[in-house]
């Protein structure tokens, strides 16, 4: 059985399509449309589309610090979305034969719907929301201060080393 998922609307690389806990790559169809075809034996398939930031989990601070050091003070790090937008849409779709699901991006409204789901099959929506993660914004600011502190520490250490040597 085939499940075709089509995403219509402005494509954001940070959006990740997950089908049965596996990340699925979207291919370009035309203009603002992307699609993916998934072969499955299951009659019910879990589909999710996320946009997440890296300030998640219990140990977010230590992870951020690790990224900072590994990427040589952030020089080789990736560019992050500073707005901390989080989007989460997950649903279960009944797959009977060849099934097509069209996901249309909604305009951004804080705490509003993320995707409009169109399909002839039956779906069970679990979540569908997009919002600015204020907690992540706070964490981002906290991390910025920590990075400046580390920088300052390194500078002081370097000056001390130069003076002593």
């Amino acid at each position: 059985m085939k499940l075709e998922i089509e995403l219509v609307g402005v494509y954001d690389k940070a959006n990740t399509l997950v089908v049965d806990e596996k990340v699925v790559k979207l291919k370009k169809k035309d203009g603002n449309t992307r699609y993916a075809v998934v072969e499955t034996e299951k009659s019910k398939v879990d589909v999710a589309m996320y946009k997440a930031h890296h300030y998640v989990g219990k140990h977010w601070f230590w992870w951020q610090l690790l990224y900072f050091f590994v990427s040589v003070f952030g020089i080789f790090d990736i560019k992050q979305d500073k707005k901390m937008l989080v989007a989460d849409c997950s649903f279960t779709v009944d797959v009977t034969g060849d099934t097509k699901v069209v996901l249309k991006r909604e305009n951004f409204v804080d705490q509003g719907k993320f995707l409009k789901i169109e399909t002839s099959s039956t779906i069970e929506e679990k979540s569908n929301i997009q919002y600015i993660d204020k907690e992540a914004l706070k964490r981002h600011k906290k991390m910025k201060k920590a990075k400046i502190g580390i920088f300052a520490g390194v500078v002081v250490l370097a000056i001390l080393l130069v003076i002593l040597l």
Partner: protein, 167 residues
């Protein structure tokens, strides 16, 4: 920890498996960026040993990069140091532009080639391992690119030692 309560509500629907995927992806991209940069530096260094204009361009770029990084990382406080390293670097830069003196300066860079290659190889291997082990996200393009990098760097290291180089 104070965050415990908030973590429950933050991205509550996103599975831990997905979180580990995005973490692995970030590490893989960091190491990929590092290996690309080291590859370019090693390539320019290698080319500069027999193509003089490359040598000049390479030296000027590297010295500019080092000066820029020094100023940024130290927030400009480097100028206040008694043994300001910017001055000898600037003199070095002027020598680099001087066509005849390039050859003598190249010795320093050429000596660093094996170290740059080894560092690039380590970064490429780490990035490749993370990308391959991250089974929920298949990135064929990246795997192919990293395999090419590893091949080139291994050949470069072997050639260096075969031609009589040592660490």
């Amino acid at each position: 920890m104070e965050e415990n309560k908030e973590v429950v509500t933050l991205n509550h629907n996103i599975s831990p498996k997905f979180v580990s995927t995005i973490r692995a992806d970030r590490f893989s991209r960091i190491f990929f960026n590092m290996s690309v940069t080291l590859m370019i530096i090693a390539l320019f260094a290698a080319l500069s040993t027999f193509i003089l204009p490359f040598a000049q361009m390479f030296l000027v770029l590297i010295i500019f990069l080092i000066i820029f990084l020094m100023i940024v990382v130290t927030f400009g406080t480097i100028f206040t140091l008694p043994n300001n390293p910017i001055i000898p670097l600037w003199e070095f830069l002027q020598k680099a532009i001087d066509f005849e003196k390039v050859q003598s300066l190249l010795v320093y860079i050429v000596n660093a080639i094996p170290y740059i290659c080894i560092a690039g190889l380590v970064c490429s291997v780490v990035s490749l391992l993370i990308t391959v082990l991250n089974k929920s996200k298949r990135e064929v393009g990246k795997i192919v690119a990293l395999s090419i990098f590893i091949g080139i760097l291994i050949i470069a290291i072997i050639l260096y030692f075969v031609l009589g180089g040592s660490l």
